[in-house]
Symmetry: C2
Subunit: 348 residues, 2 copies
DNA sequence: TTGAAAGCGCTAACAA
DNA sequence: TTGTTAGCGCTTTCAA
């Protein structure tokens, strides 16, 4: 009576899997009295279907609440409409803007974002990447340019378009949207020296990119003939509280820095808070520069000077690259330096 | 020569799709000289394969960098090892801890998280939900308990386990992990009244749950015989800057509130900042209570009193519920009230 | 312990 | 414009 009869023919023993329970495209087709392909066309290329048939099919879809299985679709079409992104963390972090704009840009292009967090751990990045590649996303956004040999091999082998972000390198895996951490370190040192600051200090988290900013900061201070930079490392703890502790240590070390460059705005807020409770006037006695230019820093008292990265632009550009590739277009200029700026405010 | 010969038989015209390029399980099987099922077993139930064969297969997998296609696996097994979560926003928000612990708990159980952000828009929630259901995740975490009729129908129809979070209701779709916003509003009002505060004010964002806290706050103040609560709505803008503006409006309105309950810690930080620049002593002249108990609020000057929600517990519990269901276990007590607490600090 | 066959739900290729 | 057929890459069922 229906097309199952073939499977239930007399000589054949029926055995295989009962279907999952959810409505399928085939069932919709039967209810609308059309072939399965036609339902597929209504969903994917509606213009190619006659209005009456289209309406009939859509009516069935509406009544049944049918939601097509994209896993099956993806398998058949080798297009998943999924983009994956891996960031160190989203908790109070500079990557938030990138993730946000990635989500938004992709949503508008009818893609979805899968997010992975490494917690700054390379092992975890490898594990995440394997899980991600297994889902055959149409593209992958990576943070940074340091990835294990294994991950590079898998990525290349899978043939999935990749965008590395938040850094620059001469040997990207595929595409690249970032900026130079070295230049930032130098620029901030020069900026502070130009404002008459002498005894510079660093309060910095312990990840590869922050370290690179810090080293360039120190090197430039030296070149400019300033005394050696004092550097306090807060390890992996990028909190307000670590910032307070760091300034306390600095203040009690005897030497009195007159400017501090922090590797994140939250650390900078900690430094400012501790300075205020020590009756140091931020902006006068102590210059403070943050990194990230979070939304709220402009409204602090005093407003915080910070290095601004256009994280949203990074996300948007990365999304555009990947969508272009997914649609089969080549990307002419697959390396973009989005630069940075020092936003001058009262704190320095 | 190989098993493709069947497809290329003389009478048949070969036409179909060339494979995608990436290594497949079938190719691994050929290289290891075993049947495809055997490779599948090595991947999923290794104990059932003899050690020698297992080693041979694993060697090939290692050499080729083969990563199994989970889309195909999911389609065949109707298990995706994917859990989806929908939150209003992750930008500087209270949901961050929940997302974080969800990610971590799921990662440990070998599941992955798909994240969607609604930006507090119900339309967007519907669109997201359709995209998500289409990927047949093994479970879905929702924020809040207000969902469109269409979404409820789809969810029920898809038969996917659901956990609603961050609120309570008598009619959950499926499972529920939350707390009472009404109770929070009442408790904070009582708390402030108990500390001798008279003229209470609200600075609140304009979403359903914040409104519910606010209404209960007002009602309780009234019951306690306090003067009417002044309420400033900041719309959808949950920023430090809105908090500053709100307190400015309050201060200039003539009436002088002696305590403010803010619907987020960031708003509270704005209120504090504005108070300080108006020479109001926070804690003495003006009590301030936040919501969320962000990491950094304990280290502010003065430290901020805030309503603490154990967002991490919500995420963990939700993850456990869904993993249990995915593994085929029933969940005995599928409704959990995680409660809340008022963390007393200097600001109130 | 291993394998052959069937099919998960969808789309690409071809035909009419 | 609509339909038929053959898979996408994997896992399940049944058999040995």
């Amino acid at each position: 009576m229906n097309d199952e009869s073939a499977a239930g023919g007399k000589g054949t023993q029926r055995r295989h899997r009962r279907n999952t329970g959810a409505m399928t495209l085939r069932q919709v087709a039967q209810l609308a009295d059309v072939a399965p392909v036609t339902v597929s066309r209504v969903l994917n290329t509606p213009d190619v279907v006659s209005p009456e048939v289209r309406e009939r099919v859509l009516a069935v879809i509406r009544e049944t609440g049918y939601v097509p299985n994209r896993l099956a679709g993806g398998l058949a079409s080798t297009r998943s409409n999924l983009i994956a992104a891996i960031v160190p963390t989203i908790t109070m972090s500079v990557f938030l803007q990138t993730v946000q704009s990635l989500t938004d840009t992709l949503f508008d292009a009818d893609y979805q974002l899968m997010l992975g967090q490494t917690g700054y751990s390379p092992e975890r990045e490898d594990a995440l990447l394997e899980a991600i590649i297994g889902r055959r996303p149409d593209g992958i956004v990576l943070t940074g340019v340091d990835h294990s040999a294994q991950s590079r091999q898998r990525l290349l082998g899978a043939g999935i378009p990749v965008v590395e972000t938040w850094d620059l390198t001469d040997h990207p895996i595929d595409m690249l949207v970032g900026f130079s951490h070295r230049d930032i370190g130098s620029s901030v040192a020069r900026y502070l020296a130009g404002r008459g600051r002498q005894q510079l200090a660093l309060v910095t988290a312990d990840d590869e990119r922050a370290r690179r900013r810090a080293s360039a900061f120190e090197a430039t201070a030296l070149e400019l003939g300033l005394p050696p930079v004092q550097r306090i490392s807060v390890g992996g703890s990028r909190t307000l509280s670590s910032g307070r502790t760091a300034l306390a240590r600095l203040a009690e070390s005897g030497s009195r820095p007159d400017a501090v460059f922090c590797s994140s705005d939250l650390l900078a807020l900690g430094v400012m808070t501790e300075a205020q409770s020590r009756e140091l006037r931020v902006g006068q006695d102590l210059g403070v520069v943050g990194f990230g230019d979070f939304d709220f820093v402009a409204d602090l008292e005093p407003a915080l000077t910070s290095v601004r990265i256009n994280g949203a632009a990074i996300g948007e550009q990365a999304a555009r690259f990947l969508v272009a590739r997914a649609e089969g277009h080549a990307v002419a200029q697959p390396v973009v330096d989005v630069g940075f700026s020092i936003v001058e405010r009262a704190s320095a």
